[in-house]
Subunit: 390 residues, 2 copies
């Protein structure tokens, strides 16, 4: 086990309630948190080039261990000098452990104390994944932040199952740390426990002693309601170390970023902005705009006159709606770009609000417009809870 805390220093610059702005140092550059990480599942953020990611101020990119180990194989990525050489994105990367995808994509999977055996969705062969193998693959991929191999139980799952699963996840964490060999990679542990606060407590109790340089909140946004999810986020985030980044995995609707930031979360990732873009939707401060509907087809203004992305600087809603109807590649490409830029801008606004000590009022103003007047209770409660410093 090698974890180089100095190489991954996390410097909090300003605070507002539980929210904070920080500089997170990694070997491939310093990122400012809170941040949203675009997802490049197979070594490419769908439809968006590395230059475009830089243009819209992306910072850290997430890549999926599960997909890349199956195709093209981690050896080829390593032969390119790791993910930056392979994908041409020059900044920091984070890889997940593969555990989540085995559960959601693998067929005929069998989980034992040793690890997981599953049938590849690519070519049907049986594949083993274990804590040791996950670290081996993630070291070959060469991301700056790598994740502990964990189990993310489905929702709903039996309470008892979640309890035994999280204990195994901690034993898997220990095995990951034992084989980890590259000091230029930080391994983050993942706190599980579903929506059960006592199980979250148990997971924290077992996980925190490993003193990993960052920790993630896993096992959420898997089907539970927002009313069930946010108490678990609030409970877990406030018990995570203050001096290290907190990462809420797989979460990234606009309202989730605002609520999560208020509760002290620093890092987010989600396929949502690119996936909803491919389906023809554009994210805006007024909610999600359906470019498949008839209204945008005659609108000569941009998606958002305040947005500085290429699509908003160059195109009318009518043109983008035409591309979507005509099934032209530039349509999903431009909507994916805009949606990522929207989330980056949203997080930038949140950081400014934190620095100005005005997060709660900014979040409320934002939500009034986004939710068109009827702000859901879970959101108001998250903002209020976040405003109370620990």
């Amino acid at each position: 086990m090698r974890q180089n805390a100095l190489m991954f220093e996390f410097q909090v610059e300003s605070r507002d309630g539980r929210a904070r702005v920080a500089q997170f140092h990694t070997p491939r550059g310093t990122v400012t948190t809170p941040m949203f990480m675009p997802v490049g599942t197979q070594g490419t953020v769908k439809g968006v080039s590395p230059q475009e990611l830089l243009d819209i101020s992306s910072q850290m990119i997430l890549a999926n261990t599960y997909h890349l180990m199956l195709r093209p194989g981690e050896g080829l990525v390593k032969a390119h000098g790791g993910l930056p050489g392979f994908t041409a994105y020059p900044g920091p990367f984070l890889t997940d452990s593969g555990g989540f995808q085995v559960m959601s994509l693998g067929h005929m999977r069998k989980i034992t104390e040793e690890g997981v055996v599953f049938k590849s969705h690519v070519d049907g062969r049986m594949v083993d994944l274990s804590p040791e193998r996950s670290v081996e693959v993630q070291e070959a991929l060469g991301a700056d932040v790598i994740m502990a191999f964990d189990e993310c139980p489905p929702f709903p799952a039996e309470r008892e199952y979640i309890g035994s699963s999280l204990e195994r996840t901690v034993r898997w964490l220990e095995r990951c740390l034992t084989v980890k060999s590259r000091p230029e990679q930080a391994l983050f542990a993942i706190v599980q426990g579903g929506i059960h606060l006592d199980l979250r407590e148990r997971s924290l109790e077992l996980t925190l002693p490993f003193h990993t340089p960052g920790l993630a909140i896993g096992g959420l946004a898997v089907g539970e309601s927002k009313e069930e999810m946010y108490p678990a986020v609030a409970f877990t985030a406030q018990r995570l170390p203050d001096d290290r980044p907190r990462y809420l995995m797989g979460v990234g609707h606009p309202e989730d970023l605002v609520a999560g930031i208020a509760l002290g979360v620093d890092m987010f990732d989600c396929v949502y902005p690119t996936r909803t873009g491919r389906f023809g939707y554009a994210l805006t401060h007024d909610g999600r705009l359906n470019m498949n509907s008839s209204a945008p087809r005659s609108e000569l203004g941009p998606i958002d006159p305040e947005c500085d992305c290429y699509a908003c600087r160059h195109y009318s809603r009518a043109y983008l709606a035409h591309l979507v109807r005509a099934e032209e590649m530039l349509g999903p490409r431009m909507l994916s770009l805009h949606n990522l830029r929207y989330l980056h801008r949203l997080v930038e606004e949140a950081r400014q609000a934190i620095s100005a000590g005005a997060l709660q009022s900014w979040a409320t103003t934002w939500a009034r417009r986004y939710f068109k007047g009827s702000i859901p209770d879970w959101f108001s409660q998250a903002i209020e809870t976040g405003a109370r410093p620990l």
Copy 2:
């Protein structure tokens, strides 16, 4: 009829045999010929942004009247100030007349002296297209160069049919010129006649008296062999006015550009580079590279180390082959970009060779590598014919 010759001046700068390098002035900028025009059928070059088109030195973009009149309708394009405002490509455009697409895409089409009635491939409604309507649509689209409404007979067609069709096409040309009202648009006539040199002669005889500021060679690359096509290109090109651009419609394989340039053609367009890119093929001086095959999957070098496109500057063949296999949008996008840049570079090399008085030797050296030693007779004959000045 208004045709402003001064606005569309064509200045020949250097010659080598029948080939020439020229500056062609248009209201939206001066382009250097010979040139290849990327095809933006539905108002977007598939997978490539306007900024990328500029980055790879694209000059004039072709857009299709047939597609745009059916969807989104020319009125919407006009409301954006024409194609540059709609598509965000700031340079010159050329629109075809819609005639060719009616023949290839329209269902239940009926051709009369008046024009064509066909069933839209988009929504099944019956649509009329006539010389007058084609000009009306092309004036709304606002390209710099617009094309006469013509009939392109299929291959093979009865000699007699081609003969009567080309005479009707001349009557349609006259009707186009009668209704044309915008002096900032140049209308090019189209010479038909299939592969029959006497019919080409007849078409030229009837078409040249209209003194259009540019002329196209139509009716080729529709299924005939190269051996049948090139004598028709050579025959027609040498009889077109020397002081105006010659446009070989719908032609654009690398070998066609080199042979056509040698025979005195100035303008080309084809969907080939973007279409073959979407199918996973990369154009190179060594021929077409199949990225779906197994060899590139492990090659760490770029498609072409001499190419300056984004894909070649950033990506290995292995990465691009991975994108193609994984069906990631960035794959067809990068291959389309590379292939367009390849054709632009090929034409730039040809221009340099013409200026240096070395086109024949350059073309032969290029062909030896491209055809892997066995240069086809039709190609050698085209280059030799082109070397004999008129």
